[in-house]
């Protein structure tokens, strides 16, 4: 009886990580406009508390929230998150990797301008993300500064930083 209970506990423990593969990936997105406004210390607008550490290395003095969202994306499905009229973010979770990490393809597409007829992929990247740890895309021009997109992932109800 005891042996049977131990065996079932063991199987349950082993089965949990494998079962997570089918669950959608929760992706937290915070898009920020960074620019200089002549401030002596860095000024963060409302809603940026969760990403202040990720902005530490950026030299602009003013940060303004453009978009914050959390989306649940199934593996191998693409989710689109409009950031503003100019940029849209696309995310495809590809696979679950070792140590609970998640491989995903992320791109920021720029709406057609002038004679362009199709959106342009302003940046495309494939990352192996650690759940709960942030990563960011930066450098795309936005008004008088640049666009910064901070992302983090989690599986199901896990941590989304």
């Amino acid at each position: 009886m005891n042996l049977a209970a131990l065996t079932m506990t063991f199987l349950a423990l082993v089965a949990v990580p494998q079962g997570e593969q089918g669950k959608p990936v929760a992706v937290r997105i915070v898009a920020v406009q960074a620019y200089n406004s002549g401030q002596k210390t860095k000024q963060f607008g409302r809603g940026l508390e969760e990403i202040r550490a990720a902005l530490k290395d950026i030299k602009f003095d003013t940060y303004r929230l453009v978009k914050a969202a959390t989306v649940n994306v199934p593996y191998n499905k693409e989710a689109r998150v409009p950031i503003n009229a100019k940029y849209s973010l696309y995310i495809i979770p590809l696979s679950k990797e070792s140590r609970g990490r998640i491989k995903l393809k992320v791109r920021v597409a720029m709406a057609p301008e002038g004679r362009q007829k199709k959106p342009v992929n302003a940046v495309m990247t494939t990352v192996v993300a650690v759940p709960g740890k942030q990563f960011k895309l930066r450098g795309l021009p936005l008004d008088r500064g640049e666009l910064i997109v901070v992302l983090s992932v989690a599986v199901h109800n896990g941590p989304v930083a």
């Binding site: 082993v14 070792s98 140590r99 494939t126 990352v127 740890k133």
Partner: protein, 150 residues
């Protein structure tokens, strides 16, 4: 050890298989070698008989004997033996479970950082690089041509 040609006859007589008992007895009376051999045979037989004696349980001891068997059969298994068996099984199962989890998850995640496997841009004149900031945040950085940022 010296031998006498009567030795086989003496042994058969000793085993009760001799048809010439009287002659053997007469020979034993005069042959020191056979007499000594007979003495050895008697010692061996005495030892064998001593080993073969079994203790018998007499009528008076029988109730106590039966009670002893019953007590031994009905005595519950010592709980400590069961406890240690359970502890051993639990420890074994825990080691197997933790090892399997470690293999499946690849170990602790504290030292992990997000890896940027590939990066590119379709923007004309732009370049892309990647770096890891001091706090461990992986960053993909698009650098635009100077005129774009004005």
């Amino acid at each position: 050890m010296s031998e006498c040609r009567w030795t086989p006859r003496v042994e058969r007589w000793f085993d009760g298989e001799s048809a010439e008992a009287e002659m053997v007895e007469q020979h034993l009376a005069v042959c020191a070698v056979c007499a000594e051999h007979l003495a050895r045979l008697q010692v061996i037989r005495g030892g064998a008989e001593a080993v073969a004696v079994r203790e018998a349980i007499g009528e008076p001891q029988l109730p106590a004997f039966i009670d002893g068997i019953r007590e031994r059969v009905e005595r519950p298994v010592r709980w400590r033996a069961g406890f240690w068996t359970l502890v051993s099984l639990s420890a074994g199962a825990l080691i197997v479970a933790l090892s399997t989890l470690y293999l499946l998850t690849g170990g602790p995640q504290e030292a992990l950082a997000t890896e940027v496997e590939s990066y590119s841009t379709e923007l004309e004149g732009a370049t892309v690089t990647t770096y890891l900031s001091e706090d461990g945040t992986a960053t993909v950085w698009v650098s635009m041509p100077e005129k774009e940022l004005r």
